[in-house]
Amino acid sequence: MHEVSIAQEIIEIVKDYLPKNNHVSVKSVRVEIGEFSNILPDALSFGFKVLTNITDMKDTELIISKVPLTVKCRDCENISILDEPFFFCHSCESANVEILTGTELKVIEIELND
């Protein structure tokens, strides 16, 4: 439900990289969205489209790379990929695991039409 706020933050970050004077448009923005970040990619794409619709960024493509949820076991050091968010080590079944990836909300790169 907060995908529109997230889309707005992405746009604010992109603006930091646009040269002030000459007219350069943004071809694409690539973001990383973790599987455990509570963000629905479709809703984020929709929010981005709506917010950029009547601006200079209306043709900018939002490329979403999903990042799987992975955890590292503090007991046996095994790294597990979790398809569902049940936080157990797949090797020793310990619940003493820390999240390695899957919570990302990051702008990775921007491609300019210049």
């Binding site: 439900m1 907060h2 706020s5 997230i6 604010e12 973001v31 968010p85 619940a95 921007i110």
Partner: protein
């Protein structure tokens, strides 16, 4: 065509302000909680009952977050406790900027324990650090025992789970042990309280825990 590497967190602005909030709160010697639940699980009721028990022992203040109205702030104000209402006008979560601005109104008051009541929502508040010491997730027995599995992020990101409305267990199809088992499968470190804001069962244990947290801050 030029490719620019960015590598920045989308919520970096929020996180930065949240860290400044946290420093401010700690400097003031406050212990700050961010209460998150579905609409109507009993966040305001839990704050009210906690105030009644701890008012003589601690200086408590409250920041209320709602989409509309200051009704919750009125309930807190009626107990003689300092309260600031944030009205988000549609936004489904509080963010660090809103809390920073609201806290300005409490800056000259002596406070040991600050409650921030988030907007009723189990999804969006999970992503936003407000500068709290910990998140407390509340679910009530009328919501069903599968909620931790359906909304895992907030259970993973909280340190405490309060299961409220245990007085209603005889009337609803809800198994407390299942709630607890499901919650622990998401976050094995959760500290869990079973309470009723109506019968007051379990409220003393919760208040003892808060007293301990404030003293050891």
């Amino acid at each position: 065509m030029s490719l620019i590497t960015v590598e920045r967190k989308i919520l970096e602005k929020n996180d930065e302000i949240a860290n400044i909030n946290r420093e401010k709160f700690r400097f003031k010697g406050m212990f700050t909680l961010n209460l998150v639940s579905s609409p109507g699980s009993g966040k305001t009721s839990l704050i009210e009952q906690t105030i009644k028990i701890l008012k003589g022992k601690l200086n408590i203040a409250v920041i209320e977050g709602d989409v509309q109205t200051n009704l919750d702030a009125q309930r807190i104000d009626a107990l003689g406790v300092s309260v600031v209402q944030i009205v988000t006008n549609g936004a489904c979560h509080l963010d660090a900027m809103l809390v920073r601005d609201a806290f300005q109104k409490l800056i000259n008051i002596d406070i040991n324990l600050l409650f921030i009541e988030n907007v009723g929502n189990l999804v969006c508040p999970a992503a936003y650090d407000l500068g709290e010491e910990m998140k407390v997730v509340i679910i009530s027995t009328t919501e069903g025992d599968d909620k931790p599995l359906k909304y895992p992020a907030i259970f993973r990101n909280s340190e405490v789970l309060v299961i409220n409305k245990i007085d209603l267990i005889p009337y609803v199809n809800c198994n407390i042990d299942t709630i607890i088992m499901n919650a622990l499968s998401i976050n094995s470190g959760l500290k869990i309280f079973e309470v009723s804001c109506t019968s007051m069962e379990g409220i003393n244990e919760w208040c003892e825990y808060l007293l301990y947290k404030v003293k050891s801050q």
